[in-house]
Symmetry: C3
Subunit: 434 residues, 3 copies
Amino acid sequence: MTSTHMIDLESAAEMAPAQDALTVGVDTLAMIAENALTVNNVWMMVATALVFIMHLGFAGVEAGFTQSKNTVNILFKNTLTPVIGILSYAFIGFGLMYPGFDEPGWFGYSGIGLMFPEGGNSVDYAEGGYTYWTDFLFQAMFAATAATIVSGAVAERIKLNAYLIFTLLFVGVVYPIIGSWKWGGGVLDDWGFYDFAGSTLVHSVGGWGALAGIMILGPRIGKYVDGKVIDKPGSSVPLATIGVFLLWLGWFGFNGGSVLSANPGEVSLVLVNTSLGASGGAIGGFIMAYFLFKRMDLGMVLNGILAGLVGVTAGTDVIIPTEAVVIGLIAGFLVVLSAHFLDKLRLDDCVGAVSVHLTCGIWGTLAVGIFSAEHSFITQLAGVAIIGVAAFTSASLIFLAMKKTIGIRVSEQHEMDGLDSHEHGIRGYTIILE
Amino acid sequence: MTSTHMIDLESAAEMAPAQDALTVGVDTLAMIAENALTVNNVWMMVATALVFIMHLGFAGVEAGFTQSKNTVNILFKNTLTPVIGILSYAFIGFGLMYPGFDEPGWFGYSGIGLMFPEGGNSVDYAEGGYTYWTDFLFQAMFAATAATIVSGAVAERIKLNAYLIFTLLFVGVVYPIIGSWKWGGGVLDDWGFYDFAGSTLVHSVGGWGALAGIMILGPRIGKYVDGKVIDKPGSSVPLATIGVFLLWLGWFGFNGGSVLSANPGEVSLVLVNTSLGASGGAIGGFIMAYFLFKRMDLGMVLNGILAGLVGVTAGTDVIIPTEAVVIGLIAGFLVVLSAHFLDKLRLDDCVGAVSVHLTCGIWGTLAVGIFSAEHSFITQLAGVAIIGVAAFTSASLIFLAMKKTIGIRVSEQHEMDGLDSHEHGIRGYTIILE
Amino acid sequence: MTSTHMIDLESAAEMAPAQDALTVGVDTLAMIAENALTVNNVWMMVATALVFIMHLGFAGVEAGFTQSKNTVNILFKNTLTPVIGILSYAFIGFGLMYPGFDEPGWFGYSGIGLMFPEGGNSVDYAEGGYTYWTDFLFQAMFAATAATIVSGAVAERIKLNAYLIFTLLFVGVVYPIIGSWKWGGGVLDDWGFYDFAGSTLVHSVGGWGALAGIMILGPRIGKYVDGKVIDKPGSSVPLATIGVFLLWLGWFGFNGGSVLSANPGEVSLVLVNTSLGASGGAIGGFIMAYFLFKRMDLGMVLNGILAGLVGVTAGTDVIIPTEAVVIGLIAGFLVVLSAHFLDKLRLDDCVGAVSVHLTCGIWGTLAVGIFSAEHSFITQLAGVAIIGVAAFTSASLIFLAMKKTIGIRVSEQHEMDGLDSHEHGIRGYTIILE
């Protein structure tokens, strides 16, 4: 812990009276700019930490909602997901996502690894909103969430090595190339497609990956029997609840950090809309599940919260609070209907990831075109479709290629026994009370 | 993620030398003020996120300390509590709590919904401490904690719909009206009543609601048998411990955000006193429980931490660190004695919420009158009494009205079987290890 | 919640034009300095909160990785550790660690208790990086982690009172005296020994304490039988995983706060290196465990993350990102090898604390001498050795003195039955589902 400080304030104060007024003014402005960068950067680092904690949130939701015989397996995947995400984004993804297009394009690459640019830690970088290092880490944490979305859907039967390879390719290559079309200044950005914090670029991309995965893997053994959907109780509802609360918390950074500065009015509106969207989603999930299933369905309240959060993500900064409630409420309705519909199609999503992230990601992106006069519904729809085709095709190709080669699904015996005993050699819970 | 920045620094720097010195000075001051608002607002947003996470803390404590057959039910309540809290505060509560009294009053209403005032995101709002949106969200997260306090006490036998209606009325109406008397600039504020962050306005208000609830509901079946108190073991001590740590963490925002700016000296003193109060409370709970029960009682250490936190909340900003330790220590003693005493009265509080929030909320508020020379013990006592009568009466009326109509207690069979199987259709834990 | 603000901005703006330009300049600089202090202090408070949450992280790791019959006991210790840490640091440790040496020394004491210095909350304190109160709380949270490291290693057989006394002495006396040699401006600092955030001063000091503890206590009954290592399954892998994620999160404050200001470039580089170190460690632990044990070992991935974090702690601010990955990777290899080696020596460390904190703490400190041209390998080695001798000897003396007097190990019966039933009277988990 060395002592550091940015501005030699005392000597500046002493020198000041000896300078002429105009010079004082210019020096002063530099110090003010440095302060602005510092506070912006503090907020962005806090946002980064909050997005990081979403990975624990996903781990909680997924381990809580899946069977206890697969707990270690799901935790293994969720622990390695941010690890692989950060490393692959550092060495490949960051350069693919921000290629520095000369003109709006579909593909570019600014180079391997973290190539610190001149002035990367000064007010000249990113309009004083954050440093190059913060930029990377915030984006890397973001990137890894796209893969995490997939892990819950395909749980309880995917081979671990297949999942890890998928994650590497999805976070390192697919996600950043698609991301470059909008956030990297590519073609979709040029068309006016709007996706503030990633209802489409993160959530539906992950959701398409999840959909491809469950289609190609097939349902778990015993999930659909004689036309009935058989419930597979998750190991721990408290763990899933912890996960959802942490995801809500993390979304303050996910959406709040997407302002890319600490601009007080913008960030605080975003946090309000985020919370109101989550609240609307909870109510929507609660009502629709009660209507359909006649029970107080905690799983659907929790997924309703996530649905509302995904729903408001695309337009958090361009909607007003009542609109956030409405968008969240509709997302809460949709997530229940979508989960119901997927089961009809015998598409087995262990934690409802496709319904939360894909269905509500699409809804949220289209909602921008509905609620914000400045954005075109058609352009939003076009963006959703183009990105959908790209993400679904890419994910399908990866899964199919692995299916032909290393295989993507564990053996029947293995699946019945649970993944923990075979691959990991320990059990998730060992509660022995004499 | 659009790029934004508050001050066009480069152009400002370029322009500066061309302006005359005095003009530079004025422009400069505006930029400095903007920076001050930005940093204050960042802290307040962090504090808001921390108060939000207290809801997960409460969920952990309550689910951990109640029986496993009711885990889903308690989580359902704790998940919907912030949801209902935020929505009802947005549409009703905020307008009741900050009515803009012309002269100190008992009731006022500034209107339904979030009515963004002119300059709500500028330095003109709240003396540059935060924006209107941050103000709302911080206050909304606060409000919802008052209802959460009730949920733990009345657990394991209250009807879910009764609890949800209570929460709506308590957070939407009762809490904000009482809050307006002090924080809204009402009569108690005029009298000099002091409650920095809510030992009384939040904690004892919630505690009175809890007391009313457990009195009207009656104890759980089999809690008091032949003059003996029968232990009902909680499902998960780790979960309760997670809850208490998160509450301590959240209290950094609860107390630290109550400074209403990032004022370095004030906020950091508040955090120190908060931590020392919690530490004193842990020691107090430890000692008193060892003295009374001759065991190392983790439950009482955990409740001692919460007791210490509640105890220092009223005066965190006007006491010195050693006083924080003493106030916390006494709160730790009191919480054990209070829990013991309530059991003597056959008042069945599942998690000790009345002892933590009411008993220690009163103690903390009176302690301000004892330790701070600037505040009158009599005024503190008067405030505690008036608010106590108002909160207890209101809560009792709500519970009694529901008792006469929809009923507030589940059936005997239902209570014996556990609430999860009847209302929710899933179990909290499903740990099957072949 | 009283309204406060630091700078009377409106009146300042009004007054400005009436002043002459030079005076404006000087006043302006004071306001800019105040803003700089405020933002620096906000970051340091956030860092403090993050280090606090590491205590929950340790609680999760240790309770998750130890047997369910001892869960309450480990949580009791982990709950009281920050409590005792904060109180003892307030009354003794802070004065020992920052004695204000006139010339570099080995021992000094600036007095009992929190003695607020003149200007402790102003820009004159700590070069505007934070206030006196923040300084104390950040350091106190740090100090308590050194003791927490010990608690996991010695779990499942140490007497509770012996552990609490050890913690009091270790945090209150041993840790701060050793810390004063470097961070307090003592002799090692003068020699040029470098330890940015405490690979040695915190982690290996805690690790030496843990090593002394397990050597003097001996292994758990039934751990080493007929030359075999008998696995003792931990109660909850999800709990351990929560713990590791929270530790990674907390490390953003541990390392990021060690910059001692919010300097944008420095802090953000530190966060990047911290995350890359953790990621490298996860991969290292994964690979080495797969190589040695032929399984996907989640425990070693989790410990690999912690190993990587400890490894980059000493030099986070002086290395580049690729070096962080390499240091973390090697730490991940080392933690597996070290755990394996300790078992060969029949040194029973319940959670791998010695391997994580001591082995990788030494590695990280030496790595500074390898990767940073500005620091001498020999000086790093000397610092590691001197501190190692001091920490190990002190801890051994405390444990041995207690062994001769009050005893440090529970009875055989007690150990077999589990510590919870004897000392605490409750069980960690009570999951009853009719």
